[in-house]
């Protein structure tokens, strides 16, 4: 590709490293940017360069935050008695958008997965157990992805918090809204049946 200026090649290369962005998409993105005014391009570049600036993990919930304590943990209106355990910040964001949960969170930053070499010590489980030990916590809600690893992680944490009097729940599994019973896989249907609720 010697007929393409080096800066363009380099940008295409860097974009190609992003997940879901192949070389063709990277080309398209770069040439889209090339048509934009320089200041628009710089805005994107700057946002990326400054992405991690001043970011820390909240001392309580371990979510990414610009303060030592994040906005949710700082919010007195949110119940300290319920903690929702999520795998990562994207899950937290998805739950927050629903507005259905008014408690606090705990971000594990991963899931126990021996295959990938991730054990309990690589996650923030120890901090979660400390929160359980503290006394204010009454319900721990697991919002982990339904998978072997999710189950194993929940089971591990449950064993750790057994000494404390905490109710443990998990978000419901069943047929998604807009889904069809006839097309649902049998594992999902089984869970939906098990989790049936009275009208």
């Amino acid at each position: 590709m010697k007929y393409i200026p080096k800066n363009i090649q380099r940008a295409i290369e860097e974009f190609s490293k992003l997940p879901g962005v192949g070389p063709k998409t990277a080309e398209r993105l770069v040439f889209y940017l090339l048509k934009k005014p320089s200041q628009d391009i710089q805005k994107l570049g700057q946002a990326i360069n400054e992405l991690k600036e001043g970011l820390v993990y909240c001392e309580i919930c371990k979510n990414l935050s610009s303060e030592i304590r994040c906005d949710i943990c700082n919010n007195e209106a949110r119940s300290e008695e319920e903690v929702c355990v999520v795998e990562d910040a994207l899950d937290l964001m998805a739950l927050e958008k629903t507005g259905a949960f008014k408690g606090r969170y705990h971000v594990l930053h991963g899931i126990i997965s021996p295959v990938d070499g991730v054990g309990p010590d690589e996650l923030t489980i120890h901090d979660l157990v400390l929160r359980a030990k503290n006394g204010t916590l009454k319900e721990m809600i697991f919002a982990l992805n339904p998978s072997m690893e999710g189950e194993a992680t929940a089971a591990y944490i449950m064993r750790q918090i057994e000494p404390y009097d905490i109710k443990v729940t998990r978000i419901a599994r069943g047929i998604p809204m807009g889904g069809h019973v006839e097309y649902a896989d049998s594992q999902t249907l089984k869970r939906a049946m098990e989790g049936r609720m009275s009208y």
Copy 2:
């Protein structure tokens, strides 16, 4: 979204502006970056910031170049007698990857489109006509997208170069490789029939 640190929000916003990147994808990209080492993130940011640095339009073919004259126009091995006319640099790149063309290019940077307010003067047509006038050019090959605008642009240019003795061709239209005759639309089939070649 006040529970998300400002830098993260800003990066999501900037990514969302890219074509084909919705808010969900932007979130995914940003959180992917957040897991990367800072220097990897900076590499992307820098590549974007420096994207346009030192870029000029080649004085001959008007392609983006880091020199006054681009590598292709500087290449003595490439025939000056054949010029392939393309809409933009992406089309040039696609053609170069085939290795099927050993002549020079001319990048129009758009197509005549009255609906979008793009007339001949917004494009590099004048420079192309000057190249035609120069005398070395023997064949002009149009590699424009098959559309009303592509046809109109080719027709306009052809009228301009009529005084000069230049053969005008266009790349073939027909059934794409791997395509099926039965699924081809009738316009494509019609063009394929008209453009039939002897074995």
